[in-house]
Amino acid sequence: MKHMNKTHIIDNKTHIIDNKTLDFSSKKINRNSQKQIRIVGTYISDQFGELWDKSLAVLINEAVNGVIKSVSKNHDFDPEEIEAVFIANMASGLFNNQLHLNAMVSQIFNHYPPAIRVEGACASGSLALITAQNALNSGRYKTVLVLGVEKMTDLNSNEATKVLSSASDYDFEYGSTFPALYALLAKAHMHKYGTTREQLSAVSVKNHRHAINNPKAHFRKIFTSEQVSKSSMVADPLRLLDCSPVSDGASAVILSTKEVGNLLNLNKKDISKSRRKNKIISYENKPKIIGFGHAQDSLSLANRQSLTSLLATKKAAKEAFAHAGITHNDVKVAEVHDCFTIAEILAIEDLGFFKPGTGGKATLDGKTTFGGEIIINPSGGLKACGHPVGATGVKQVAYLAEFLENQDKIGFKPPSGSISESKLGLRKQKFQYALAHNVGGSGATVVVHILEK
Protein backbone atom coordinates (compact mmCIF):
# COMPACT_ATOMS: atom_id res chain seq x y z
CA MET A 1 0.00 0.00 0.00
CA LYS A 2 1.26 3.45 -0.82
CA HIS A 3 2.20 5.78 2.01
CA MET A 4 0.15 8.92 1.61
CA ASN A 5 2.73 11.04 3.41
CA LYS A 6 5.21 10.32 0.63
CA THR A 7 3.22 12.34 -1.88
CA HIS A 8 4.85 15.62 -0.95
CA ILE A 9 8.30 14.14 -1.39
CA ILE A 10 7.30 12.70 -4.73
CA ASP A 11 6.01 16.07 -5.89
CA ASN A 12 9.31 17.69 -5.02
CA LYS A 13 11.26 14.91 -6.63
CA THR A 14 9.27 15.14 -9.85
CA HIS A 15 9.92 18.86 -9.95
CA ILE A 16 13.64 18.29 -9.60
CA ILE A 17 13.64 15.70 -12.37
CA ASP A 18 11.68 18.02 -14.64
CA ASN A 19 14.26 20.76 -14.26
CA LYS A 20 17.37 18.68 -14.39
CA THR A 21 16.49 15.78 -16.64
CA LEU A 22 19.64 14.55 -18.31
CA ASP A 23 21.47 17.70 -17.29
CA PHE A 24 24.95 16.66 -16.38
CA SER A 25 26.47 20.10 -16.63
CA SER A 26 26.79 20.19 -12.84
CA LYS A 27 28.47 16.80 -12.81
CA LYS A 28 31.68 17.29 -14.71
CA ILE A 29 33.63 14.12 -15.11
CA ASN A 30 37.20 14.60 -14.07
CA ARG A 31 39.01 12.21 -16.35
CA ASN A 32 42.29 12.98 -14.60
CA SER A 33 40.93 11.25 -11.51
CA GLN A 34 40.08 8.12 -13.50
CA LYS A 35 42.76 5.48 -13.71
CA GLN A 36 43.05 3.11 -16.65
CA ILE A 37 41.24 -0.01 -15.53
CA ARG A 38 41.86 -3.19 -17.49
CA ILE A 39 39.90 -6.42 -17.39
CA VAL A 40 42.77 -8.86 -16.99
CA GLY A 41 40.80 -12.00 -16.18
CA THR A 42 37.30 -13.26 -16.95
CA TYR A 43 35.17 -16.23 -15.96
CA ILE A 44 31.63 -17.33 -16.73
CA SER A 45 30.27 -20.63 -15.35
CA ASP A 46 30.70 -23.50 -17.81
CA GLN A 47 26.92 -23.53 -18.02
CA PHE A 48 24.13 -21.25 -16.82
CA GLY A 49 20.98 -23.17 -15.94
CA GLU A 50 19.56 -25.62 -13.45
CA LEU A 51 22.81 -26.82 -11.92
CA TRP A 52 21.47 -29.35 -9.45
CA ASP A 53 24.90 -30.73 -8.60
CA LYS A 54 26.41 -27.37 -7.71
CA SER A 55 25.82 -25.52 -4.46
CA LEU A 56 26.29 -21.80 -3.94
CA ALA A 57 29.72 -22.52 -2.42
CA VAL A 58 30.76 -24.66 -5.38
CA LEU A 59 29.72 -21.95 -7.86
CA ILE A 60 31.76 -19.40 -5.91
CA ASN A 61 34.81 -21.66 -5.71
CA GLU A 62 34.68 -22.42 -9.42
CA ALA A 63 34.43 -18.71 -10.23
CA VAL A 64 37.41 -17.73 -8.07
CA ASN A 65 39.60 -20.51 -9.42
CA GLY A 66 38.37 -20.00 -12.97
CA VAL A 67 39.04 -16.28 -13.12
CA ILE A 68 42.52 -16.66 -11.64
CA LYS A 69 43.37 -19.33 -14.20
CA SER A 70 42.08 -17.11 -17.02
CA VAL A 71 44.74 -14.45 -16.55
CA SER A 72 47.50 -16.51 -18.15
CA LYS A 73 47.30 -19.65 -20.26
CA ASN A 74 50.77 -20.90 -19.49
CA HIS A 75 51.33 -19.89 -15.88
CA ASP A 76 49.36 -19.51 -12.70
CA PHE A 77 48.42 -15.99 -11.73
CA ASP A 78 49.53 -15.23 -8.20
CA PRO A 79 46.32 -15.10 -6.09
CA GLU A 80 48.02 -12.72 -3.69
CA GLU A 81 47.83 -10.10 -6.43
CA ILE A 82 44.14 -9.84 -5.49
CA GLU A 83 44.01 -7.03 -2.93
CA ALA A 84 40.24 -7.00 -2.43
CA VAL A 85 37.12 -8.87 -3.49
CA PHE A 86 33.72 -7.43 -4.39
CA ILE A 87 30.91 -9.98 -4.50
CA ALA A 88 27.52 -9.40 -6.09
CA ASN A 89 24.49 -11.37 -4.97
CA MET A 90 20.84 -10.50 -4.63
CA ALA A 91 19.21 -13.02 -2.35
CA SER A 92 21.34 -15.89 -1.07
CA GLY A 93 19.70 -15.38 2.32
CA LEU A 94 16.31 -16.20 0.82
CA PHE A 95 17.38 -18.66 -1.87
CA ASN A 96 20.02 -20.58 0.09
CA ASN A 97 19.79 -19.48 3.74
CA GLN A 98 23.38 -18.30 3.40
CA LEU A 99 24.58 -14.80 4.13
CA HIS A 100 28.02 -13.37 4.88
CA LEU A 101 29.15 -14.11 1.34
CA ASN A 102 32.06 -11.71 1.54
CA ALA A 103 33.71 -13.96 4.11
CA MET A 104 32.77 -17.04 2.11
CA VAL A 105 34.73 -15.71 -0.87
CA SER A 106 37.66 -14.27 1.06
CA GLN A 107 38.36 -17.57 2.85
CA ILE A 108 39.16 -19.22 -0.49
CA PHE A 109 42.40 -17.23 -0.55
CA ASN A 110 45.33 -17.99 1.72
CA HIS A 111 45.79 -14.29 2.40
CA TYR A 112 42.10 -13.53 3.19
CA PRO A 113 41.75 -10.31 1.14
CA PRO A 114 39.21 -7.69 2.29
CA ALA A 115 35.81 -8.54 0.78
CA ILE A 116 32.55 -6.64 0.43
CA ARG A 117 29.15 -7.86 -0.71
CA VAL A 118 27.03 -5.54 -2.88
CA GLU A 119 23.28 -5.91 -3.46
CA GLY A 120 21.10 -4.00 -5.93
CA ALA A 121 18.63 -6.61 -7.16
CA CYS A 122 19.38 -7.62 -10.77
CA ALA A 123 21.96 -4.82 -10.99
CA SER A 124 24.02 -6.27 -8.14
CA GLY A 125 26.76 -7.36 -10.53
CA SER A 126 27.34 -4.00 -12.16
CA LEU A 127 27.06 -2.22 -8.81
CA ALA A 128 29.81 -4.48 -7.47
CA LEU A 129 31.85 -3.59 -10.55
CA ILE A 130 31.53 0.16 -10.06
CA THR A 131 32.22 -0.23 -6.34
CA ALA A 132 35.43 -2.00 -7.31
CA GLN A 133 36.23 0.62 -9.94
CA ASN A 134 35.76 3.42 -7.40
CA ALA A 135 38.14 1.61 -5.06
CA LEU A 136 40.69 1.29 -7.87
CA ASN A 137 40.28 4.94 -8.86
CA SER A 138 40.82 6.00 -5.26
CA GLY A 139 44.20 4.32 -5.38
CA ARG A 140 43.48 2.11 -2.38
CA TYR A 141 43.83 -1.05 -4.47
CA LYS A 142 45.49 -1.83 -7.79
CA THR A 143 44.08 -5.28 -8.53
CA VAL A 144 40.71 -6.57 -7.38
CA LEU A 145 38.36 -9.44 -8.10
CA VAL A 146 34.65 -8.92 -8.76
CA LEU A 147 32.45 -11.99 -8.52
CA GLY A 148 28.72 -12.35 -9.14
CA VAL A 149 26.74 -15.41 -8.16
CA GLU A 150 23.16 -16.61 -7.68
CA LYS A 151 21.91 -20.09 -6.85
CA MET A 152 18.19 -19.89 -7.62
CA THR A 153 16.83 -23.25 -8.69
CA ASP A 154 16.61 -24.95 -5.31
CA LEU A 155 13.25 -23.16 -4.95
CA ASN A 156 10.30 -23.86 -7.20
CA SER A 157 9.18 -21.20 -9.66
CA ASN A 158 6.46 -19.75 -7.41
CA GLU A 159 8.84 -19.48 -4.47
CA ALA A 160 11.48 -17.93 -6.73
CA THR A 161 8.85 -15.46 -7.97
CA LYS A 162 8.26 -14.41 -4.38
CA VAL A 163 11.97 -13.95 -3.68
CA LEU A 164 12.45 -11.89 -6.83
CA SER A 165 9.42 -9.74 -6.00
CA SER A 166 11.32 -8.54 -2.95
CA ALA A 167 13.17 -6.25 -5.37
CA SER A 168 9.95 -4.30 -5.93
CA ASP A 169 8.49 -1.82 -3.45
CA TYR A 170 6.95 -4.11 -0.81
CA ASP A 171 4.60 -1.48 0.63
CA PHE A 172 3.59 0.19 -2.64
CA GLU A 173 3.40 -2.80 -4.97
CA TYR A 174 1.88 -5.61 -2.93
CA GLY A 175 0.50 -8.33 -5.18
CA SER A 176 2.83 -7.51 -8.04
CA THR A 177 5.36 -9.79 -9.68
CA PHE A 178 8.27 -8.74 -11.85
CA PRO A 179 6.62 -9.96 -15.04
CA ALA A 180 3.59 -7.89 -14.03
CA LEU A 181 5.62 -4.71 -13.56
CA TYR A 182 7.27 -5.13 -16.97
CA ALA A 183 3.88 -6.05 -18.42
CA LEU A 184 2.65 -2.61 -17.34
CA LEU A 185 5.65 -1.04 -19.10
CA ALA A 186 4.83 -3.11 -22.19
CA LYS A 187 1.21 -1.97 -22.09
CA ALA A 188 2.32 1.66 -21.90
CA HIS A 189 4.78 1.21 -24.80
CA MET A 190 2.18 -0.55 -26.92
CA HIS A 191 -0.37 2.15 -26.16
CA LYS A 192 1.92 5.06 -27.02
CA TYR A 193 3.91 3.64 -29.93
CA GLY A 194 1.85 0.76 -31.25
CA THR A 195 4.50 -1.81 -30.36
CA THR A 196 3.16 -5.22 -31.34
CA ARG A 197 3.09 -8.78 -30.07
CA GLU A 198 5.18 -9.77 -33.09
CA GLN A 199 7.86 -7.22 -32.17
CA LEU A 200 8.07 -8.52 -28.60
CA SER A 201 8.42 -12.04 -29.95
CA ALA A 202 11.19 -10.93 -32.32
CA VAL A 203 13.39 -10.08 -29.31
CA SER A 204 12.98 -13.56 -27.88
CA VAL A 205 13.49 -15.28 -31.25
CA LYS A 206 16.66 -13.28 -31.94
CA ASN A 207 18.24 -13.85 -28.52
CA HIS A 208 17.51 -17.57 -28.56
CA ARG A 209 19.11 -17.71 -32.01
CA HIS A 210 22.20 -15.92 -30.69
CA ALA A 211 22.45 -18.38 -27.78
CA ILE A 212 22.86 -21.29 -30.17
CA ASN A 213 26.52 -20.26 -30.58
CA ASN A 214 27.05 -19.80 -26.84
CA PRO A 215 27.90 -23.15 -25.19
CA LYS A 216 27.34 -21.62 -21.75
CA ALA A 217 23.78 -20.51 -22.45
CA HIS A 218 20.91 -21.83 -20.33
CA PHE A 219 18.76 -22.41 -23.41
CA ARG A 220 20.31 -23.27 -26.77
CA LYS A 221 17.14 -23.79 -28.72
CA ILE A 222 15.54 -21.99 -31.63
CA PHE A 223 12.02 -20.72 -31.10
CA THR A 224 9.69 -19.32 -33.74
CA SER A 225 7.72 -16.14 -33.37
CA GLU A 226 4.55 -18.21 -33.25
CA GLN A 227 5.90 -20.37 -30.41
CA VAL A 228 6.72 -17.26 -28.39
CA SER A 229 3.36 -15.69 -29.09
CA LYS A 230 1.50 -18.85 -28.08
CA SER A 231 3.49 -19.74 -24.98
CA SER A 232 1.59 -19.67 -21.71
CA MET A 233 0.54 -16.29 -20.34
CA VAL A 234 2.41 -15.02 -17.28
CA ALA A 235 1.20 -11.41 -17.01
CA ASP A 236 -0.65 -9.99 -20.00
CA PRO A 237 0.91 -9.27 -22.55
CA LEU A 238 4.06 -11.08 -21.39
CA ARG A 239 4.18 -14.82 -21.95
CA LEU A 240 6.57 -17.48 -20.74
CA LEU A 241 8.94 -17.03 -23.69
CA ASP A 242 9.03 -13.27 -23.12
CA CYS A 243 10.64 -13.91 -19.72
CA SER A 244 14.24 -14.65 -18.80
CA PRO A 245 14.67 -17.91 -16.92
CA VAL A 246 15.52 -18.63 -13.30
CA SER A 247 19.15 -19.77 -13.55
CA ASP A 248 22.10 -20.80 -11.44
CA GLY A 249 25.49 -19.41 -12.33
CA ALA A 250 28.51 -17.36 -11.45
CA SER A 251 30.81 -14.94 -13.22
CA ALA A 252 33.94 -13.05 -12.29
CA VAL A 253 36.46 -10.55 -13.56
CA ILE A 254 39.82 -9.36 -12.31
CA LEU A 255 40.29 -5.61 -12.72
CA SER A 256 43.66 -3.94 -12.47
CA THR A 257 45.24 -0.53 -12.83
CA LYS A 258 48.70 -2.09 -13.06
CA GLU A 259 50.63 -2.58 -16.28
CA VAL A 260 51.83 -6.07 -15.37
CA GLY A 261 50.83 -8.87 -13.02
CA ASN A 262 52.85 -11.44 -11.14
CA LEU A 263 52.76 -15.10 -12.08
CA LEU A 264 53.82 -18.15 -10.14
CA ASN A 265 56.53 -20.33 -11.59
CA LEU A 266 55.02 -23.79 -11.31
CA ASN A 267 58.37 -25.45 -11.80
CA LYS A 268 59.73 -23.91 -8.65
CA LYS A 269 57.00 -24.69 -6.16
CA ASP A 270 59.48 -25.88 -3.62
CA ILE A 271 61.33 -22.62 -3.26
CA SER A 272 60.29 -19.66 -1.17
CA LYS A 273 57.25 -17.69 -2.26
CA SER A 274 59.17 -14.49 -2.77
CA ARG A 275 61.50 -16.15 -5.27
CA ARG A 276 58.61 -17.78 -7.12
CA LYS A 277 57.33 -14.39 -8.25
CA ASN A 278 59.82 -14.23 -11.05
CA LYS A 279 57.49 -14.08 -13.99
CA ILE A 280 55.17 -11.32 -15.04
CA ILE A 281 52.35 -10.92 -17.52
CA SER A 282 51.73 -7.73 -19.44
CA TYR A 283 48.19 -6.33 -19.31
CA GLU A 284 48.86 -4.10 -22.32
CA ASN A 285 46.43 -5.86 -24.67
CA LYS A 286 43.68 -6.51 -22.16
CA PRO A 287 40.33 -4.75 -22.70
CA LYS A 288 39.75 -1.52 -20.79
CA ILE A 289 36.75 -0.07 -19.01
CA ILE A 290 36.68 3.44 -20.47
CA GLY A 291 33.34 4.63 -19.17
CA PHE A 292 30.61 3.88 -16.73
CA GLY A 293 27.45 5.53 -15.53
CA HIS A 294 25.08 4.82 -12.68
CA ALA A 295 21.61 6.28 -12.10
CA GLN A 296 18.56 5.67 -9.95
CA ASP A 297 14.82 6.21 -10.27
CA SER A 298 11.82 5.55 -8.04
CA LEU A 299 11.39 1.97 -6.85
CA SER A 300 7.69 1.90 -7.70
CA LEU A 301 6.33 2.38 -11.22
CA ALA A 302 3.56 4.70 -10.03
CA ASN A 303 6.10 7.37 -9.15
CA ARG A 304 7.91 7.28 -12.51
CA GLN A 305 8.03 10.29 -14.79
CA SER A 306 7.57 7.99 -17.79
CA LEU A 307 6.36 4.43 -18.34
CA THR A 308 7.61 4.23 -21.91
CA SER A 309 11.29 4.64 -21.10
CA LEU A 310 13.61 4.08 -18.16
CA LEU A 311 14.96 7.48 -17.16
CA ALA A 312 17.77 5.84 -15.18
CA THR A 313 19.02 4.15 -18.35
CA LYS A 314 19.14 7.47 -20.18
CA LYS A 315 21.01 9.13 -17.33
CA ALA A 316 23.47 6.26 -16.82
CA ALA A 317 24.13 6.06 -20.57
CA LYS A 318 24.72 9.78 -20.86
CA GLU A 319 27.21 9.64 -18.01
CA ALA A 320 28.97 6.57 -19.43
CA PHE A 321 29.28 8.00 -22.94
CA ALA A 322 30.57 11.32 -21.57
CA HIS A 323 33.05 9.45 -19.42
CA ALA A 324 34.22 7.35 -22.38
CA GLY A 325 34.34 10.26 -24.81
CA ILE A 326 32.34 8.40 -27.46
CA THR A 327 28.71 8.33 -28.60
CA HIS A 328 26.17 5.57 -29.14
CA ASN A 329 27.09 5.66 -32.84
CA ASP A 330 30.53 4.24 -31.98
CA VAL A 331 29.08 1.14 -30.31
CA LYS A 332 28.32 -1.83 -32.55
CA VAL A 333 27.87 -4.56 -29.96
CA ALA A 334 26.04 -4.48 -26.63
CA GLU A 335 24.75 -6.73 -23.92
CA VAL A 336 21.55 -5.14 -22.60
CA HIS A 337 19.24 -6.13 -19.76
CA ASP A 338 16.53 -8.17 -21.48
CA CYS A 339 14.93 -9.69 -18.39
CA PHE A 340 11.73 -9.45 -20.45
CA THR A 341 11.37 -8.80 -24.16
CA ILE A 342 9.96 -5.32 -23.58
CA ALA A 343 13.03 -4.53 -21.46
CA GLU A 344 15.32 -4.95 -24.47
CA ILE A 345 13.12 -2.69 -26.59
CA LEU A 346 13.20 -0.03 -23.87
CA ALA A 347 16.96 -0.43 -23.49
CA ILE A 348 17.92 -0.01 -27.14
CA GLU A 349 15.76 3.11 -27.32
CA ASP A 350 16.94 4.62 -24.03
CA LEU A 351 20.60 3.93 -24.84
CA GLY A 352 20.14 5.94 -28.04
CA PHE A 353 20.62 3.12 -30.53
CA PHE A 354 17.10 3.59 -31.90
CA LYS A 355 14.56 6.39 -31.65
CA PRO A 356 11.77 6.14 -29.06
CA GLY A 357 9.04 3.83 -30.28
CA THR A 358 11.15 2.19 -32.99
CA GLY A 359 13.02 -0.47 -31.00
CA GLY A 360 10.46 -3.18 -31.62
CA LYS A 361 10.34 -2.58 -35.36
CA ALA A 362 14.15 -2.41 -35.54
CA THR A 363 14.37 -5.80 -33.87
CA LEU A 364 11.75 -7.30 -36.16
CA ASP A 365 13.60 -5.86 -39.16
CA GLY A 366 16.86 -7.58 -38.17
CA LYS A 367 18.73 -4.41 -37.21
CA THR A 368 19.82 -5.78 -33.81
CA THR A 369 21.48 -9.00 -34.92
CA PHE A 370 24.59 -10.01 -36.87
CA GLY A 371 24.65 -8.04 -40.08
CA GLY A 372 22.33 -5.37 -38.72
CA GLU A 373 23.10 -1.93 -37.36
CA ILE A 374 24.24 -3.18 -33.95
CA ILE A 375 24.48 -6.63 -32.36
CA ILE A 376 22.32 -6.68 -29.27
CA ASN A 377 22.91 -9.54 -26.84
CA PRO A 378 25.25 -11.77 -28.83
CA SER A 379 25.45 -14.08 -25.80
CA GLY A 380 21.72 -14.68 -25.96
CA GLY A 381 21.16 -12.10 -23.24
CA LEU A 382 19.33 -12.78 -20.04
CA LYS A 383 16.54 -14.28 -22.09
CA ALA A 384 18.45 -17.26 -23.47
CA CYS A 385 21.90 -17.24 -21.88
CA GLY A 386 20.19 -17.09 -18.50
CA HIS A 387 19.75 -14.76 -15.57
CA PRO A 388 21.45 -15.85 -12.34
CA VAL A 389 20.58 -12.48 -10.89
CA GLY A 390 23.73 -11.54 -8.96
CA ALA A 391 25.97 -12.89 -11.70
CA THR A 392 24.35 -11.12 -14.65
CA GLY A 393 26.03 -7.70 -14.50
CA VAL A 394 29.48 -9.26 -14.13
CA LYS A 395 28.74 -11.82 -16.84
CA GLN A 396 27.82 -9.07 -19.31
CA VAL A 397 31.17 -7.35 -18.83
CA ALA A 398 33.12 -10.64 -18.77
CA TYR A 399 31.42 -11.79 -21.98
CA LEU A 400 32.07 -8.51 -23.79
CA ALA A 401 35.70 -8.43 -22.64
CA GLU A 402 36.17 -11.92 -24.11
CA PHE A 403 34.31 -10.81 -27.25
CA LEU A 404 36.63 -7.84 -27.77
CA GLU A 405 39.78 -9.72 -26.83
CA ASN A 406 39.19 -12.77 -28.98
CA GLN A 407 37.67 -11.28 -32.12
CA ASP A 408 40.97 -11.22 -34.04
CA LYS A 409 41.70 -14.85 -33.22
CA ILE A 410 38.41 -16.55 -33.84
CA GLY A 411 36.17 -14.14 -35.70
CA PHE A 412 32.47 -14.28 -35.09
CA LYS A 413 30.06 -16.53 -36.85
CA PRO A 414 26.49 -15.43 -37.30
CA PRO A 415 24.10 -17.85 -35.62
CA SER A 416 22.47 -20.38 -37.86
CA GLY A 417 19.36 -18.99 -39.42
CA SER A 418 20.71 -15.46 -39.79
CA ILE A 419 22.09 -13.88 -42.93
CA SER A 420 25.12 -15.68 -44.36
CA GLU A 421 28.55 -14.72 -43.12
CA SER A 422 30.03 -14.30 -46.59
CA LYS A 423 27.27 -11.96 -47.64
CA LEU A 424 27.91 -9.74 -44.65
CA GLY A 425 31.67 -9.93 -44.56
CA LEU A 426 31.44 -10.37 -40.81
CA ARG A 427 34.98 -11.57 -40.42
CA LYS A 428 36.12 -8.17 -41.59
CA GLN A 429 34.04 -6.37 -39.00
CA LYS A 430 36.09 -5.06 -36.10
CA PHE A 431 34.63 -4.09 -32.79
CA GLN A 432 36.50 -1.41 -30.89
CA TYR A 433 33.87 -0.70 -28.26
CA ALA A 434 31.22 -2.67 -26.42
CA LEU A 435 28.47 -1.61 -24.03
CA ALA A 436 26.93 -3.41 -21.05
CA HIS A 437 23.58 -2.31 -19.60
CA ASN A 438 22.39 -3.77 -16.31
CA VAL A 439 19.05 -2.94 -14.65
CA GLY A 440 17.89 -3.48 -11.09
CA GLY A 441 14.20 -4.12 -10.48
CA SER A 442 11.85 -2.46 -12.93
CA GLY A 443 14.36 0.28 -13.66
CA ALA A 444 15.10 1.85 -10.28
CA THR A 445 18.82 1.07 -10.63
CA VAL A 446 20.77 1.17 -13.89
CA VAL A 447 24.48 0.84 -14.61
CA VAL A 448 26.09 1.22 -18.03
CA HIS A 449 29.67 0.17 -18.78
CA ILE A 450 31.63 0.93 -21.94
CA LEU A 451 34.59 -1.26 -22.82
CA GLU A 452 37.35 -0.72 -25.36
CA LYS A 453 39.54 -3.31 -26.98
Binding site: K162, F172, P179, K187, L301
Partner: protein
Protein backbone atom coordinates in the same frame (compact mmCIF):
# COMPACT_ATOMS: atom_id res chain seq x y z
CA UNK B 1 3.01 -17.16 5.07
CA UNK B 2 5.18 -15.62 7.75
CA UNK B 3 3.38 -12.57 8.97
CA UNK B 4 4.68 -9.59 10.87
CA UNK B 5 1.92 -8.07 13.06
CA UNK B 6 3.80 -4.80 13.55
CA UNK B 7 4.23 -4.34 9.80
CA UNK B 8 0.57 -5.21 9.29
CA UNK B 9 -0.46 -2.60 11.86
CA UNK B 10 1.63 0.06 10.13
CA UNK B 11 -0.15 -0.71 6.85
CA UNK B 12 -3.54 -0.52 8.54
CA UNK B 13 -2.95 3.13 9.37
CA UNK B 14 -3.19 4.03 5.68
CA UNK B 15 -6.39 2.18 4.85
CA UNK B 16 -8.64 5.13 5.56
CA UNK B 17 -6.83 7.11 2.86
CA UNK B 18 -8.29 4.74 0.28
CA UNK B 19 -11.32 2.76 1.45
CA UNK B 20 -14.47 3.90 -0.32
CA UNK B 21 -12.65 6.26 -2.66
CA UNK B 22 -12.53 5.85 -6.42
CA UNK B 23 -9.85 6.03 -9.07
CA UNK B 24 -9.20 5.40 -12.74
CA UNK B 25 -7.08 2.62 -14.26
CA UNK B 26 -4.00 4.00 -16.05
CA UNK B 27 -2.49 0.65 -17.10
CA UNK B 28 -3.39 -2.85 -16.01
CA UNK B 29 -2.11 -6.41 -16.44
CA UNK B 30 -3.71 -9.72 -15.59
CA UNK B 31 -1.41 -11.94 -13.53
CA UNK B 32 -1.46 -15.69 -14.18
CA UNK B 33 1.65 -16.71 -12.18
CA UNK B 34 2.39 -15.42 -8.70
CA UNK B 35 3.93 -16.17 -5.31
CA UNK B 36 2.57 -19.04 -3.16
CA UNK B 37 0.45 -16.99 -0.74
CA UNK B 38 -1.41 -15.34 -3.64
CA UNK B 39 -2.10 -18.51 -5.64
CA UNK B 40 -5.64 -18.63 -4.30
CA UNK B 41 -6.48 -15.35 -6.05
CA UNK B 42 -5.30 -16.22 -9.56
CA UNK B 43 -6.00 -14.80 -12.01
CA UNK B 44 -6.05 -11.27 -10.69
CA UNK B 45 -5.24 -7.85 -12.09
CA UNK B 46 -2.47 -5.53 -11.01
CA UNK B 47 -2.87 -1.92 -12.01
CA UNK B 48 -1.49 1.56 -11.88
CA UNK B 49 -4.47 3.62 -10.80
CA UNK B 50 -4.91 7.38 -10.56
CA UNK B 51 -6.75 9.09 -7.73
CA UNK B 52 -6.74 12.85 -7.14
CA UNK B 53 -3.89 13.29 -9.66
CA UNK B 54 -1.68 10.82 -7.77
CA UNK B 55 -0.76 7.35 -9.00
CA UNK B 56 -0.81 4.15 -6.95
CA UNK B 57 -0.39 0.42 -7.59
CA UNK B 58 -2.87 -2.16 -6.35
CA UNK B 59 -4.08 -5.66 -7.07
CA UNK B 60 -7.69 -6.50 -7.85
CA UNK B 61 -10.02 -9.14 -6.54
CA UNK B 62 -9.78 -12.64 -8.00
CA UNK B 63 -11.04 -12.93 -11.55
CA UNK B 64 -11.48 -9.21 -12.11
CA UNK B 65 -11.34 -8.04 -15.73
CA UNK B 66 -10.10 -4.48 -15.56
CA UNK B 67 -9.29 -2.35 -18.58
CA UNK B 68 -7.45 0.91 -19.12
CA UNK B 69 -9.78 3.78 -18.28
CA UNK B 70 -12.06 1.74 -16.01
CA UNK B 71 -13.36 3.45 -12.88
CA UNK B 72 -12.52 1.47 -9.74
CA UNK B 73 -13.25 1.63 -6.04
CA UNK B 74 -10.68 0.91 -3.31
CA UNK B 75 -12.06 -1.79 -1.03
CA UNK B 76 -10.78 -3.76 1.96
CA UNK B 77 -10.33 -7.44 1.19
CA UNK B 78 -8.29 -10.45 2.28
CA UNK B 79 -4.85 -10.27 0.65
CA UNK B 80 -3.43 -13.69 1.46
CA UNK B 81 -4.67 -17.15 2.34
CA UNK B 82 -3.07 -18.38 5.56
CA UNK B 83 -3.50 -21.44 7.70
CA UNK B 84 -6.45 -21.29 10.10
CA UNK B 85 -4.27 -20.53 13.12
CA UNK B 86 -2.82 -17.35 11.64
CA UNK B 87 -4.12 -13.82 11.58
CA UNK B 88 -6.18 -12.97 8.51
CA UNK B 89 -4.44 -10.52 6.20
CA UNK B 90 -6.47 -7.64 4.85
CA UNK B 91 -5.45 -4.90 2.46
CA UNK B 92 -6.67 -2.57 -0.25
CA UNK B 93 -7.85 -4.07 -3.53
CA UNK B 94 -9.53 -2.68 -6.62
CA UNK B 95 -13.12 -3.36 -7.65
CA UNK B 96 -14.57 -2.16 -10.96
CA UNK B 97 -17.46 0.28 -10.76
CA UNK B 98 -20.03 -0.24 -13.50
Amino acid sequence: MQFNPADYWRQNKNWNNFVGKTGKIVFVTKIEVTSPELQEYLPYCFAIVEMDSERYEFMSEKGADLKKGDKVEFVLRKTAENDRASLINYGIKLVKID
